[in-house]
Amino acid sequence: MKALRRSHTSNSSSSSPSSSSTMSSWIHLRSLLIVASSPVPDRGSLKSPWSRRKRKRALTRHQWYSFFTPEGKLRDGGLKFLKKVRSGGVDPSIRAEVWPFLLGVYNLNSSRAERNAVRQQKRKEYEKLRRRCRRLLKLSNEGDKELKEIVQVSYAESPIFIEGHESPGSEDVFSARESPSVDRGSPVDGGTEQPSRDETSASNSCNVEEEDKSGITHVNDASAGETESSDTESSTEDEPESDLMYSAAEGNMETDPKYIKITSIKGDNPKSSRTAEDYATWQRIIRLDAIRANVEWVIYSPAQALVSEDKALKSAVAVGLKDYDHLEPCRIYHAARLVAILEAYALYDPEIGYCQGMSDLLSPILAVMEEDYEAFWCFVGFMRKARHNFRLDEVGIRRQLNIVSKIIKSKDLHLFRHLEKLQAEDCFFVYRMVVVLFRRELTFEQTVCLWEVMWADQAAIRAGIGKSAWGRIRLRAPPTEDLLLYAIAACVLQRRKLIIETYSSMDEIIRACNNMAGQLDVWKLLDDAHDLVVTLHDKIE
């Protein structure tokens, strides 16, 4: 049915990418066409019944600035801004400014002055995490055997977090810092929120506020919180990483192993088949992964691509990078930044720590954000949802595969039955797409566009912009937390014929999925995904 519709409309839209090509659908869709559609030319060859929603122009610098009041507040709580990003992504030249809003580092309602204060605060917090990383690295380099036992983080079901960087004693500036239990409906500088549980996952339905009641593990991290000497902090916070290395003066409590002990309540009994990885393992794997990071970002980030050899080597030494002799300076620099931020994240969110694939998610953020602390907090914002992909118990992954399966079943029972026959109805074959959010299947630019659209949806939900508001205004597909999953389902549905007629085992489907790289069009995918959201979101969510 769908295929028929598609071939039918393709005739009318093949010749011209302009809005006139969709004339035949206008009647049904006039509510969507307040803004004239003018797709980017290279998308013009794509046909779909939803071609009227082909990519609008990306958010431009001019538009972006025009959204702000003189005090630097986004008008209408950012609604117009999010709508714009949702339909066309963001112009590359302003990504570094826009992403912190999309990722909840800045509140959509914040003023310029408030953001400046947040920025200062975030910078300090990040520096503090980095100082701890350096101390831990120093310990492990010294071969301190205790380290393994001391910084052991277990994968108990109960969430663990480090109290230090959120401790009441250290809060001073901004509201989110005063309440780790920020209501998800009103994002107040969400980047400082503790990572919240997955709302839709049954076993983790508590929000951050509830964690304390549910047997939350407390971390005896005397080092990072109120006990840290403020002298030490103020004297070091502005120094670049390379100058800070292993300064003996930093010593005091933080280098004493007993203060970096992270304990956890193992009440929920981590399954015996899993061996917990410790921080030392993460340190090692992060370094291995950093030097083999994808290098596609280089052309999108000329300033970083031209980093001097001297700077690159310094940054490598500062984070203790290894085996990088074969890499060009820009790759060394990128790898060193990956290490710095991933390590800091592992301390910030020790329940997740480091898991392979996280570097795939961080790398594009690094390419866009020149400052490490900004990149870190954007990554934290990204991980608020994506962290569930990296849980050792795989609850997050399974939930998502389940939703993809449900979407396919609801949309195309015939295909679903075929998958059942191949014992592939669990949709395991889209595993990689789920884990690294299409990063391996799409190009750098396509991936980033998809993420921006997805982030805009998630930001709208965080800001409490409900379905009704979107309906009233223009877009029929309401914002969803799971746009990615609709896009993945769309991607599978686009190949239904091939799957049904050609593939006779799940192995073949996995292979096909893994070989999709370079063959997908992100805007077509998003068109189809939105189509699915329109028709199915009530059933699925």
Binding site: S273, R274, T275, E277, T281, R284, I285, L288, D289, I291, R292, N294, V295, H326, L327, C355, Q356, G357, S359, D360, F390, L392, E394, Y431, R432, V435, V436, R440, D507, E508, I510, R511, N514, N515
Partner: protein, 211 residues
Amino acid sequence: MSYAYLFKYIIIGDTGVGKSCLLLQFTDKRFQPVHDLTIGVEFGARMITIDNKPIKLQIWDTAGQESFRSITRSYYRGAAGALLVYDITRRETFNHLANWLEDARQHANANMTIMLIGNKCDLSHRRAVSTEEGEQFAKEHGLVFMEASAKTAQNVEEAFISTAATIYKKIQDGVFDVSNESYGIKVGYGGIPGPSGGRDGTSSQAGGCCS
């Protein structure tokens, strides 16, 4: 492409030991110095010839980190052969072999053929595990052992092919019920009974993703 038998392999071992590079060298005869880390599982295939019979190797390449272990585990079942890989320049990857082996023994079928590979033997100046240690470990655990280099291709063909030869021998010896696909062996059209006839040649290659 027709084959006498299809053997399913799995490649396991710590992250960064060169599993994907070994596979790429075997299927495509090339080396990629910076290879994307593997998320979940990836796939490769190639035709080889043993005893004048075309045999298709279907190889699952797995992610090395613990977090992906339970996905990896689902691939042990249905594998006839496993390449257990460590990096001769990183001691810890050798130290973890026992864990991998335990995992394999627990989740794979008992007759799975396991080949131990000490990879990166081109980096002998950085060697952290001696050949003798590798041999010793293999001997203790009843594994076939080779040192190899995905970079120079040394012993790569040999590793995959001698594993296949061992499996083939087990078939000849009647160890497997080849009609039961859970052993990771599939009988092709050109296969049994008797010689396949037409096809011959040494290790004929069918590209990275033949089907």
